[in-house]
Symmetry: C2
Subunit: 498 residues, 2 copies
């Protein structure tokens, strides 16, 4: 982490990141004498995204940071004054200047926990005017973060716990912060690392990355490095000209693979040597710039074997095009044969990393075969988290079965007594004619670190029963109402007000 007081603060949303109708409504409330009325809003999903039966709650840390810092500066108030009617009472703007969130209360699902349709991820209560101004930025901070984390969790479920998942979607992100948010919450949802350096600096996400095709194509093979010598890994003995050593190995590799020694591209080999000189302990070859079989693979083997002579182990190779699975399987065979041929057993198990628009389907196919997978999360915005249907201030409880897996969530009115484990409860599934009975447990935790939230996400997912965890056509997880909440709904449907 960088040596800043609060490095994440720079990524926070600002008070005017809100819809103008929130400000006009604020003026309406103020004019009606209702600015300080008690109010609450809730944020939840109506449907789980991506056709699954669960979502992960995320974004709470950003909300808390935003709320702590919430203050309208003079420039903010002046801007609002410029877009509201010119005869607006100046006392309204004085009210805005004095606003903060000291009277706002937030209750939330713990960062990284499971969320189900209708269960509030966030409940925000406080004076009506300020709560209204907070609604849009909090929605903006929670909705996308939860969606990204859910997507990442699905990819993690497909990949299994052992595969390494690297997110590298920054260049296609929705602007700078869209990328920062996506990288952060992909990590929370289960990815191992991100290529996004800023996410590392500001959020502590592990960063990873090696080289791209442009690095390979930038070398012609005629370049002369200022210092071609590489010292042995153990640090003792004389340095070796790595390019010359790789050239010697190339002849053996080509003979082994049945290739002419002129076939592998000399620029690609020069690029690999240059990269290996800079990263002798982390050498990775990008194989598909020219031809995987006639150039990338023999060049990688030549440089990796030259490094190996000096005591360095190449980390792996990456494929970024074509049939990733088939190529990876064949490359593994080549590695095994070359390991035997050249008596370097470590070569058998170097990583094969694949990338290039890996979606759930492609990942499922790959996950059976490969050791490391670099995916790019793909987002579909299908949920609708902003509309409220259930009345009143509510509390949510997660009810666990005897094996510890969540059975259902129950919503009740905030003033109802807290349910106790082992106690039988009558609850109402939505739309049901009759209540059913269950036994509850509950969950409440303080705001953890990003890495802790990531661990909680995996723990929560591991406890979800297989039929709810299934990504295609899952059994729908039930969210039910308490008797009193159901009665309130019934009374509201029958009449106009409670």
């Amino acid at each position: 982490m960088a040596a800043e007081q609060d490095p994440e603060a720079r990524a926070a949303a600002r008070p005017l990141l809100t819809d103008l109708y929130q400000a006009t409504m604020a003026l309406g409330y103020w004019r009606a004498g209702r600015a300080r009325d008690a109010a609450e809003f809730e944020l939840f999903f109506r449907r789980c995204p991506f056709g699954g039966a669960f979502a992960l709650a995320a974004g709470l840390r950003d909300c808390v940071r935003f709320l702590r810092a919430f203050r309208l500066r003079d420039a903010d108030v002046q801007f609002l004054a410029s877009v509201l009617p010119p005869d607006t009472d100046p006392a309204f703007f004085e009210h805005l200047r004095a606003l903060d969130c000291s009277e706002v209360t937030v209750r939330a699902l713990p960062e990284g926990s499971l969320a189900f349709p209708g269960v509030p991820l966030l409940q925000v209560s406080g004076p009506l005017l300020v709560v209204q101004l907070l609604e849009t930025p909090l929605l903006c901070l929670v909705s996308y973060a939860s969606l990204v984390a859910t997507n990442a969790a699905r990819l993690r479920l497909i990949a299994g716990p052992e595969k390494r998942l690297l997110e590298m979607g920054l260049r296609r992100a929705q602007g700078p912060d869209g990328g920062l948010t996506a990288s952060t919450y992909s990590y929370l949802g289960g990815f191992d690392s991100s290529s996004n350096v800023l996410a590392g600096q500001l959020r502590g996400v592990p960063v990873a990355g090696t080289l791209a095709h442009s690095f390979v194509t930038s070398f012609s093979g005629s370049e002369v490095p200022p210092d071609p010598m590489l010292a042995p890994a153990a640090g003792e003995g004389p340095g070796v000209d790595l390019a010359a050593k790789a050239q010697v190995w190339l002849e053996q590799v080509c003979a082994h693979l049945g290739l002419g020694v002129q076939e592998p591209h000399p620029g690609e080999r020069a690029a690999f040597v240059a990269y290996a000189l800079a990263f002798p302990r982390a050498f990775q070859g990008l194989l598909d710039t020219y031809s995987v079989w006639r150039s990338g693979l023999p060049n990688f083997l030549a440089v990796a074997l030259a490094l190996g002579e000096l005591g360095y182990r190449a980390v792996g190779v990456r494929l970024d095009s074509g049939d990733l699975l088939q190529q990876a399987q064949e490359i593994r065979k080549v590695f095994r044969a070359a390991a035997a041929q050249f008596q370097v057993p470590w070569l058998e198990s170097v990583l094969i990393v694949v990338s290039n628009n890996i979606d759930e389907e492609a990942l499922a196919r790959l996950a059976q075969e490969l050791v490391a997978v670099g995916g790019q999360p793909r987002m579909k915005l299908t949920e609708d988290p902003e509309k409220q249907t259930l009345p009143g201030s509510k509390a949510a409880f997660r009810l666990l079965g005897s094996d510890g897996s969540p059975l259902m969530d129950m919503l009740q009115l905030a003033e109802e007594p807290v349910p106790q484990a082992g106690q039988e409860l009558r609850v109402w599934p939505p739309g049901a004619q009759e209540p059913c009975t269950v036994r509850p447990a509950q969950l409440c935790e303080p705001l953890p670190s990003l890495a802790e939230s990531r661990a909680l996400a995996q723990l929560s997912l591991s406890r979800l029963s297989p039929e709810h965890r299934r990504l295609r056509s899952p059994a729908q997880y039930q969210v039910v109402l308490s008797e009193r909440l159901q009665a309130l709904v019934n009374s509201l449907c029958a009449g106009q007000s409670p």
Copy 2:
């Protein structure tokens, strides 16, 4: 605009908003003695998004701002040192500390101009190491901006030049900056305004908005405003109790509509009165909180007619659910009948605004009938702007027909002489066996303001011929190669290097 030195600067990307592989490659180049080699990269779309035949170039202003401010601070360099190998030569980090973009040159399509597949939106040249670090942030800044602007331009083409289009997607955006970028470039692409206040403050986008359902539901009807009196619009004469006046009008309206006076929800009416007291010159009713026909519409009419008595004109109504087109048509009929009944001709033409997930198809249906439309841009990320195929540093020229509409774009090598209007050129469509001949013109403009870019976008679109402007199954706009560029491609395909 707020009284800041450069209010947009706060929205700018930061130097570490890049992929780690750009930094590792930078180290590789530096170790190979190539940090200051001359380099160039280009950014273009491979396919036009959304199935159309054009895109709008956007994001250049953000790129220029980013490049001007580009400097790695101590904390940035320290963070990079923490994720690169511990034995990295300290001289590399000294090199990073001294980097800026003073030797970087950017050529670009003017902000808001038409872009076609393969034609570079941006060409960045300069020292290899710094150009590599810039690639990801510039892609991030241009790709999404251009996509949003293109989407907005398509919706504008569907709506026609007269309809008002309001963007209000912030709450579903990809994080805070995703929302800011979307609002800014929706405006550039042709929308009239945004609900996003920050886009107004930082980017000068016109902001608009009134009230949401939560405002309506927050009133029960029993509230007593501290000051229920409203002065006449002309500013002379005594004030009137607006709520009482609206109650009188309600009886007439209900009689006219054949409704019982108890049917319209009193809380909704109280909310309308509260809003009208705050915005007497900008009163708009949100009709669908309870029932459009039995509550929203009569309550709106009662308050609008009460305001009218005081000399104020209601601005309009908004619908946010249901069959928007059918309801809007029927509401227009009610307005006409009420205008005749109560002898208030202005009521005939108050705005009917609709919102709720309006995509291209829904907009096409609505655009035939309505006066104002509030849409939410929907994004599909289908383009692939990052991979390069054509070799060499290139220049692009737009060739216009005799009627001024673009015929095709031509790519040539940067060192080729600039084509002249009226001069016959031999050019190569991609994949063609034979060249064809055309006559060129050209386009080059300095960086304009956001509003000027928005005007340029509309002007550019108006010049595009109808078969290219068509949104479904358009004729593909051709991008062709000059003879010399084609020859270079041929030579590269034949051999390994030029």
